[in-house]
Amino acid sequence: MSAGTLYDKVWQLHQVAELADGATQLFIGLHLIHEVTSPQAFAGLKELNLQVRHPERTVATVDHIVPTSSQARPFTDPLAEEMLATLERNCSENGITLHGLGSGRQGIVHVIAPELGLTQPGMTVACGDSHTSTHGAFGAIAFGIGTSQVRDVLASQSLAMAKLKVRRIWVDGSLQAGVYAKDLVLHIIRLLGVQKGVGYAHEFAGPAIDALSMEERMTICNMAIEGGARCGYVNPDATTFTYLKNREYAPSGEAWGRAVAWWSQLASGSDALFDDEVVVDASNIAPTVTWGISPGQGVGVDEMIPTLEQIAEEERPLAEEAYRYMDLQAGAAIAGTPVDVCFIGSCTNGRLSDLRAAAAVAKGGQVAAGIKAFVVPGSEQVARAAEQEGLDQLFRAAGFEWREPGCSMCLAMNPDRLEGRQISASSSNRNFKGRQGSASGRTLLMSPAMVAAAAIKGCVTDVRTLLNK
């Protein structure tokens, strides 16, 4: 199956060999690295006395551990400083380009590679980070890997992989005003669950996907992994090409026309075969918020937190654990849930259009008393573009902190974290127990506009009520 899909075509182009044990050796077109999952890979390479095979196909940045309030070196945290220094040394010793702090190109790896034009249709993209699925928005086959595999890509520019099945998720209709790509993907995960994607690449297609901008498509593909799919993608089209044109690493001159022609024929054909298909209607989706400890535990902001009876039997133990951990009441409205911290940023929602959507809600308002609200641009480019539009001033005037780029409180490997039982409204991607840096901290996932609404009102609020004023 999967013949005629983009996945199948890209897979075939990158097949190097069939390995003795049945896996395929797959060439990796673009390898992205960062400070957290690469040091042990470089150490492993040294141990095996191997060189980096294609240093020009690996690109590095620093994102997970960087502080977002002051990025002055050395960092206050000596462990963070050591990790960055190690990355700098590994890149310099191996001839790898590092887009470091203050370079104008630094940022979250899944934000900078697209904005620099590094990510292109038809590539295989690997990175030691599960949200590498983001790059599938361009019609690339992109997936997260572990550190041993980072070592393998450094050594051979390839990986031993098993081919995935392909599920098409066809999205009909169009999103209502105040409903964003984040709501759509949270809704899809709510419908399909967090395990359904295991063993599959998810192709997102249909009129509602065609209508999305590249940044919105990145939000969708970013969270493919939260639905269990290691890789998610959208077929490249005019939206893709327009986005890429004139980007720093995109093809230019005569090569541009040839590139567009090649990219265009990669899209899944009308005769493509899928291993599975699912149809979703975008028209009736409400702004969606998670109430539990798994990204699949979401509800529309106008709904109640489901009761045990409303939950499939096999999901009940997790729901009971979620009620206890979140200290939220089954059957109560999710709207009105008080929050302590509001975080706008991450590889899911830290791009310019995300900040604009949040700013449109924050404009003229004031962060509610006692709430800590902060905005972390996904990259230096995003930060400078937002500042040029005055978004930083707008946010500051409304009582939000304006920070420097990094992964920040999405995973709290830096000074940004929840304290104790604090509950956050967060535009990030995971609401796992302890995810945001406190072992008892709680996370409500939602769109950046919804986070801004929660900051202004002090509790979970349907952003549509603020936008319609």
Partner: protein, 202 residues
């Protein structure tokens, strides 16, 4: 803690099993992000499930009878979330040498295989029976056979699933795949030379 890590062909694993019940146990729980601030995996064994182990009630990894266990019995979608290899590294450094689940998250599965830690699938009935058996007092010794993909204890035996490719990689010792990948030098060059985006789209 067991400091001798998998090497070469892996044909069987024998030992006590520790049970962690529940679906969707993610890698943030296996190893919280703050422990990823390291340039070596060495210290991770003591930090496995660090936050879960502080919660009320004795965590299975802290129970006296589970010390020295080397097989982990879990439920569905084990290892979901972050791609951090720190998760299987932490389990391995605590002592785990094989995992039996109803299903695994893919990146976690691949990370385990790259360390020589077999991940086998049990159907729901088997998974529950194994968990019950593992919690008997005294703790039984399980014998996990990679070639037949079976696990046995106390005179009983259960069939598991192990993907053909993974099984051969473990049995042949080729689970540490770097050597195989770099050996195909010419094929790598050939693939690269045919990729339009590496050749100015000519």
């Amino acid at each position: 803690m067991n400091n001798s890590y998998p090497q070469g062909a892996i044909t069987s694993i024998s030992g006590k099993a520790v049970v962690l019940s529940g679906n969707n146990i993610d890698t943030d729980r296996i190893i919280p992000a703050r422990f990823l601030k390291c340039v070596s995996f060495d210290g991770l064994g003591a930090q496995v499930f660090a936050d879960d182990r502080k919660e009320a009630g004795e965590h299975p990894f802290d129970k006296a009878e589970n010390q020295g266990a080397n097989i982990l019995f879990v439920n569905r979608n084990f290892g979901c979330g972050s791609s951090r290899e720190h998760a299987p590294q932490a389990l391995m450094r605590w002592g785990i040498r094989a995992v039996v689940a109803e299903s695994f998250a893919e990146i976690f599965y691949g990370n385990c295989l790259a360390l020589g830690i077999p991940c086998l699938i049990a159907n729901q009935t088997t998974a529950l029976q194994l968990q019950e058996e593992a919690n008997q007092n005294p703790k039984p010794i399980f014998n996990l056979d990679i070639k037949t993909a079976t696990v046995s204890a106390a005179g009983k035996s259960w069939n598991l699933e192990l993907a053909g490719g993974s099984q051969q990689m473990l049995l042949s010792g080729r689970w540490d795949g770097t050597a195989q990948l770099i050996a195909n030098n010419e094929a790598l060059n050939k693939t690269a030379s045919a990729l339009p985006y590496l050749n100015n789209f000519q």
